[in-house]
């Protein structure tokens, strides 16, 4: 598979949308693994990095879920291609900036990706649309076991899987859920939620991980610690935290409707109007407007059938995807024009909001 055909294919993130993905858009688990006898990528010399990449890519490409996958050296990818992979959560920003000897292997359906020579020799990732921690774990666990049959992992009975950074020791697992939490943001409760989640040993980040902002009211919640608990225990704890966040978001929606439905309807209606008529939209504003339309879908203002369009636009509004679609590189001001034009055309025939259809309890 080539990078061009991968970019042209729909991704798990955008095309599996249903009301099951209302609040948890996506579940993702990654495992950090290293070879026992090689220095970690950050300390390895160029020749060692090349050797590590050869060993790892051969093993990964032979694994069943990655047959006929995209298998490419990062330095062979263009800037725009890398940016698109980052926007689809298939590679990290760190990998996209990495030098010689880094590879990425991505499955045809874009649910499995393996980064070679990122911070660790292997960063295995599986993502699924919706709230599916168990299923995602089963898939990645099986892939990991398959790889271990041919790769000698660095492992210590007391410290678990050995990783370049001691914060990933033990299971080497980071499980995360991408959540759409507009009502908690509108009612200014996010700060409180972040604090509570932190106290439970979980981390809240923006859409694109560390340091990114939370435009579009999309957050990533993941486990912080990896040592001292089994994978199942971590997933169980994360699941209960996520369930309680979902609960809070649904309550917040209910409260917003009870307290001042007019204000909420106004936000959603204006978002629709701007989408149809604006001529300049930066990505942050576009994300925030799409978030309101998505909330409208959850509430029944727009039909559920339009959900996948919105989830696709969340991705297409990103700078990499936007420029790729327009076949060129554009500066931010030009991008704002192009983004607005794209959204105008998408919303030209988008069904009008109908506020009489609202679900009285805000749940669907």
């Amino acid at each position: 598979m080539t990078i061009a055909s991968l970019i042209a294919s729909p991704s798990e993130l955008t095309d599996a949308a249903s009301n099951k993905t209302a609040i948890v858009l996506m579940t993702r688990i990654r495992l950090a693994r290293n070879l026992a006898t090689q220095p970690f990528p950050g300390w390895a010399k160029p020749a060692q990095r090349t050797r590590i990449a050869e060993i790892c890519t051969a093993a990964v490409a032979a694994a069943t879920p990655l047959k006929r996958s995209l298998n490419v050296a990062v330095d062979q990818l263009g800037e725009l291609e890398k940016q698109i992979l980052v926007e689809r959560h298939l590679i990290s920003r760190e990998l996209s900036g990495s030098k010689q000897g880094s590879n990425v292997i991505i499955s045809k359906d874009q649910t499995v990706s393996v980064m070679v020579n990122e911070e660790d020799h292997l960063r295995i990732q599986v993502l699924r649309a919706g709230f599916q921690l168990k299923k995602t774990w089963n898939v990645i666990n099986e892939l990991d076991t398959a790889l271990e049959a041919s790769l000698d992992y660095a492992f210590s009975p007391t410290l678990g899987y050995l990783t370049a950074c001691p914060t990933n020791l033990g299971t080497g697992m980071r499980a995360s859920a991408m959540m759409h939490l507009p009502a908690l943001v509108i009612s200014s409760q996010m700060e409180k939620v972040v604090r509570a989640v932190n106290q439970l040993g979980m981390v809240v980040r923006g859409l694109f991980g560390e340091g990114s902002d939370a435009s579009g009211s999309i957050f990533q919640i993941s486990n912080q610690t990896t040592l001292g608990e089994s994978e199942e225990e971590i997933l169980k704890r994360l699941t209960s935290v996520l369930q309680s966040i979902i609960e809070h978001e649904l309550n917040a929606r209910e409260k917003l409707l009870e307290a001042d439905a007019g204000k909420l309807f106004d936000k959603i209606g204006r978002a629709y109007g701007i989408m149809q008529n604006s001529h300049l939209l930066n990505s942050s504003e576009a994300m925030n407007l799409l978030s309101l339309i998505r909330l409208g879908i959850d509430l029944g203002v727009f039909p559920d059938a339009n959900r996948s369009t919105i989830d696709r636009l969340f991705i297409e509004a990103q700078p990499g995807h936007l420029q790729h679609a327009q076949k060129g590189e554009f500066d931010p001001a030009q991008r704002d024009l192009l983004r607005a034009a794209h959204l105008r055309s998408e919303f030209a025939n988008f069904v009008r909001p109908d506020f009489s259809l609202i679900n009285s309890n805000g749940k669907n």
Partner: protein, 168 residues
């Protein structure tokens, strides 16, 4: 592979090695060319080794006793700089500083999750094989031919088992 000695003051390879006896104690200093020049070690009119030793001990990251991974040459100073380790063996080399760090970082300090069964089984087979090969050469050397024959059979059994597991 033996790692070359590193300069006591910086991380470059040491090329100047000094031994001095001061009040009945032997002091050794290893320096690189540049530091030796800078400290006047190459100046025959004399320099104070004790000054140099004191300075080195005040700079704990470069002190002779600082932790260093024999396998990849990573030092404690490197860890302070990068916040990442050099290779899996560093976890042994830096054991001392690791435990207090992990205590605050994680839920516990002992792994209770998944174990790479296949990789570990393969590893123990290899360890067994090298031990048997050692036994074999010992038996031959001391002319215990019955032992040698038995060990040889055992080796071929283990080898067969290794071949049955997937290729490395």
């Amino acid at each position: 592979m033996a790692n070359p000695l590193k300069c006591d003051l910086c991380d470059k390879p040491a090329t100047v090695h000094l031994t001095q006896i001061v009040s009945n104690k032997v002091h050794k200093v290893d320096l690189c060319e540049a530091c030796a020049q800078a400290k006047g070690v190459t100046d025959p009119s004399g320099f104070s080794l004790s000054d140099l030793l004191l300075k080195a001990s005040l700079n704990p990251e470069a002190a002779p006793g600082a932790m260093r991974c024999e396998s990849c040459g990573f030092t404690q100073a490197d860890f302070k700089k990068h916040g990442r380790f050099g290779c899996p063996a560093c976890y042994d080399a830096f054991k001392g500083m690791l435990e207090p760090m992990l205590d605050g970082m994680h839920k516990g300090t002992k792994h209770t999750g998944k174990i790479p069964q296949a990789a570990l089984a393969r590893q123990s087979l290899h360890e067994r094989l090298s031990k048997l090969e050692l036994d074999l050469s010992d038996a031959i050397k001391s002319e215990r031919y019955e032992d040698a024959a038995r060990t040889r059979d055992e080796i071929s059994q283990v080898k067969q088992a290794t071949h049955q597991s997937p290729p490395r």
